[in-house]
Symmetry: C2
Subunit: 394 residues, 2 copies
């Protein structure tokens, strides 16, 4: 298999490194022929080029690995590669969440493969696990910690009783968080990953307009309060279906101490699916990082090269977002003057170290996020989290 890698950043160079250093019967068959770098950059390797057409026109190059990130030119290059009869493997969640259906249909038309394991859960074989489970079960529930950066921040704030800003800076200096951390801490990265997962599970390209609430306003004291109640907080994406109705949300969730999620530390991810015959399956591992993400890309390439049959997603379902499908209990920290937003809810009030926390019972997730948008207008430092509804597994 002759490969072209688009982009030579952390993940792209990780792919080249694994192909060079892993000497298994499978990796030995992979050969990096081209590396596309930006125009004007130094071509330090003989395989480097700066024109996508060098790759598109090379009939001997059968697989393109896209690790550039962002929407354009990634979207255009992926389509061009598929139309040139090349398989495409990508780690780019933003472009896949947006164009999943177009890419999959284009790949089918051109009799090539489009694989994207590395977009969701880094090195965790999640996409394949989900695809496989669907060969037998309808998947009616997916939830999990899909983002290493936000998990690192919450876990370390908890463990070291530290402020958000201090841990964010630490995560940035370790390379876990970007200079602009918005995608990670405001939940947009996770939204993309949930959208990809739910679209596969529901055979329907899920639109992105579901509620998303991040962790930007969480304080050290919130965490102490949640701990005092026996909870650990994690930023979670979840989706549920019932027939052709579904709900999706990204929000902070409070888990009891003895749940797997409460004990998912540092930048690890854990993703759960539920199906009728398989029950709960959880996949745990490194959700980001050079080698784990590159590992997922190389696994996709091996599947293509070995001609491994995988579940072929089609988008034949018509699903409807149901605003009342998901109900949760919530805890909200806000100032007294914002309480009016919750006048339609049933709640109790708790005061902890001078802060007021509302405990709200069984409210529709969609409504709750609407209320919080109102609250944030008058109290931009407010924070909310839902309470995990465990299966009754005793």
């Amino acid at each position: 298999m002759n490969i072209a890698i688009l982009g030579y950043g952390t993940v792209g160079s990780g792919v080249a490194l694994i192909i060079e250093q892993a000497h298994t019967p499978f990796t030995k068959k992979l050969h990096v022929k081209h590396i596309l770098i930006r125009k004007g950059k130094n071509k330090i390797l003989s395989t480097m080029c700066d024109d996508i057409h060098t790759i598109l026109n090379d009939k001997d190059c059968d697989t393109v690995v896209e690790t550039m990130g962002g929407i354009e030119p990634a979207h255009t290059y992926i389509l061009q590669a598929l139309k040139s009869g090349k398989h495409v493997v990508t780690a780019n969640k933003a472009v896949v969440a947006k164009y999943l259906q177009e890419f999959i249909e284009c790949a089918k038309e051109n009799h090539v493969k489009f694989y994207f394991e590395a977009t969701t859960g880094g090195g965790i074989p999640w996409i394949e696990g989900l695809d496989k489970a669907m060969r037998i079960d309808e998947i009616d529930h997916i939830y999990g910690i899909f983002n290493g950066t936000s998990n690192y921040i919450l876990d370390h704030m908890e463990r070291y009783n530290a402020d958000f800003d201090k841990i964010l800076k630490e995560a940035q200096s370790l390379g876990y968080a970007e200079a602009d951390p918005s995608a990670d801490i405001d939940g947009f990265d996770i939204r993309n990953k949930l959208r990809i997962s739910a679209s596969l599970a529901y055979a329907f390209h899920v639109p992105e307009d579901f509620p998303v609430y991040g962790i930007r306003t969480i304080t050290k004291q919130d965490i102490t309060y949640f701990k005092h109640l026996g909870y650990h907080i994690r930023l979670v994406a979840k989706t549920k279906r019932q027939g052709n109705k579904y709900g999706c949300v990204v929000e902070p969730v409070l888990f009891p101490q003895n749940e797997i999620e409460s004990n998912t530390k540092n930048n690890y991810n854990v993703i759960t699916l539920h199906g009728k015959t398989i029950g709960d399956l959880k996949f745990y591992g490194q959700g980001a990082g050079k080698l784990p993400t590159a590992n997922a890309i190389v696994q996709d390439m091996i599947d293509i090269n070995e001609n491994t049959t995988r579940f072929e997603t089609s988008f034949t379902n018509q699903m409807h977002y149901d605003k009342s499908l998901c109900l949760c209990d919530y805890i909200v920290r806000t100032s007294t003057k914002a309480f009016g937003a919750f006048s339609d809810c049933s709640y109790t009030l708790d005061t902890y170290q001078g802060c007021e926390y509302l405990h709200i019972k069984k409210v529709a997730v969609y409504l709750m996020h609407q209320y919080m948008r109102e609250v944030m207008k008058t109290d931009p430092n407010a924070f909310m989290a839902s309470i995990f509804e465990g299966e009754n597994d005793d």
Copy 2:
């Protein structure tokens, strides 16, 4: 695909049920043609027969699912089926642990598949996950909770401060434990699963003569003591390799509260592998039960029917059991008169509610099990557990 199911107990009937009730494009292609039952039993279904030759001689039947359990006649029937050019899928860990190499080599010679996902970790896609990880990484470490019954017992003793015998009876009445629970609580079931996993990871059919210590002698008070030290106890199988040296052991392990294993409840399993580029991957789910186990069998059949390429294990390595590769800290409860067995070790003594517990530092696993065999001769109620050595993931 025309299937013959050998045995119609919990798992065999679960396979038939999934094929009947799951209506996916994959399961629709599976057709149960024969069910082998014991001679003299009532043939309540038209597909039932009591002579293996009916199946072996049926050229239209391409796949045999063995769910009888035990060594014979399972071993003979599996070989006969493979030699008749039929694929074989099995859930029988005892026969696979013992004859793995023979079965795989026989399948290769006859150009058919031999798959056994359901032997290890029930519905968890563990064998496939391990196979897949090995396409890139050498797997140098595997450990986990491989047995639902023992996990149910330990978790419930802990949670309800209950005696071993009471919870064992409860597990038996729920169908989680056999009338003769020895295989589960003495660690032999887990030994088979570790042997299968390690043999795949090391490309070497690992012999069964590694140390195994179960949970038969654990008391309510031991659990209270471990809790007081901050530990949860789980029955664990683990293996480690370094070059062509390896170690394997089954023993009770003490995990700190915030480890995933400590929070693996009821009859769930969690299995971890470690590889150079992928790091730690954990697979969590129902390690036993009618539908999860049947799900794993149906997945194997779908892989065969879809002609999915999987990693082909060969047994080309020459590995050596290294007695000094694994060192652990241990806690032992025994009577003063048995202390002499540990005279070569460095230990401290702790007394808790009238019981004496030795804390032993860094002793070779192999030696420790030897010492305990001595101790059990004079104190048959003694108990030991090792202390989990976590990765330093902070």
